[in-house]
Symmetry: C2
DNA sequence: ACGCAGCGTTACGCTTACGTAAGCTTCGCG
DNA sequence: CGCGAAGCTTACGTAAGCGTAACGCTGCGT
């Protein structure tokens, strides 16, 4: 479990993704599994990245956006320009996320209100049906 | 502005969408503009729905999910089964949104932390470059 | 009357994020 | 030794969400 390497199957079971998905992410340079022969071996770093990828997806980021953000979590030392770019990008995303948090609260409040209205309509419908 | 009807162009300018998008949403039965001849006239109801659509999209819901949720905001009176379905769906989405809110806070905290780390690395890089 | 800007329909195109099938290699097991 | 499961590569298929012609009708300013 906490071993250094995980096979593709272990990855799939752990993170509920398909082999295709992992290979796809590798082809898009989001993951960099090592090889034993031609079998993929996923490292701890790959697992950390995958978690971030899946989380990013849940918040509607595209894989390309996520790829760029990952540079922030795995900074390529000695590459100042890239670090600066990743930092800027991260700050922009942070603003976006904070704005979203506010809107999310509104959406939740809205939905709750509508559900109340709906429940009342449903209750009224039941009454008028005189069950 | 607050008039009853809006032309497709007014809608586009107001909500920053293309005509194609509005026609597409109509074809998917998310909007139901009236007609004057063959020109579309968008009602207040359409505008309310469009706002919800755009908001739903920002939170990663598919147009199909949104379409079903809209029934909650525009209940088809006298259709109890549909109202119940919309209500259940809404409650499920509410749970989802509340879970997301929690995760969003984590993501924000995480990102902030990484940005701090990144800034320190950048500062160190500047120092070692002895500018 | 003329021209063209704006709306409408139809339909094919394109991108993202994988699904799925085909065909080859490899590894473990009876 | 044989073979079936699992992995790999290559490549075509697919659904969602519009973009982008192509072509026709219409109203309006000159």
């Amino acid at each position: 479990m906490t071993e250094t390497y995980m096979t593709i199957r272990e990855m799939c079971d752990t993170y509920e993704v398909t082999p295709r998905t992992l290979r796809f992410y590798e082809s898009k340079e989001l993951l960099f599994p090592e090889r034993q022969g031609n079998r993929r071996l996923f490292t701890k770093r790959d697992r950390a990245r995958l978690k971030l990828i899946l989380r990013g997806k849940r918040f509607g980021f595209s894989l390309e956006e996520i790829r760029q953000l990952l540079d922030l979590y795995n900074p390529v030392q000695n590459n100042l320009p890239q670090m600066l770019k990743a930092s800027d990008l991260g700050k922009a995303h942070l603003k976006d996320l904070e704005a979203r948090r506010i809107e999310l609260d509104e959406v939740i409040a809205d939905l709750k209100r509508q559900l109340d209205v709906g429940d009342k309509l449903i209750a009224a419908a039941h009454l008028s049906a005189a069950e």
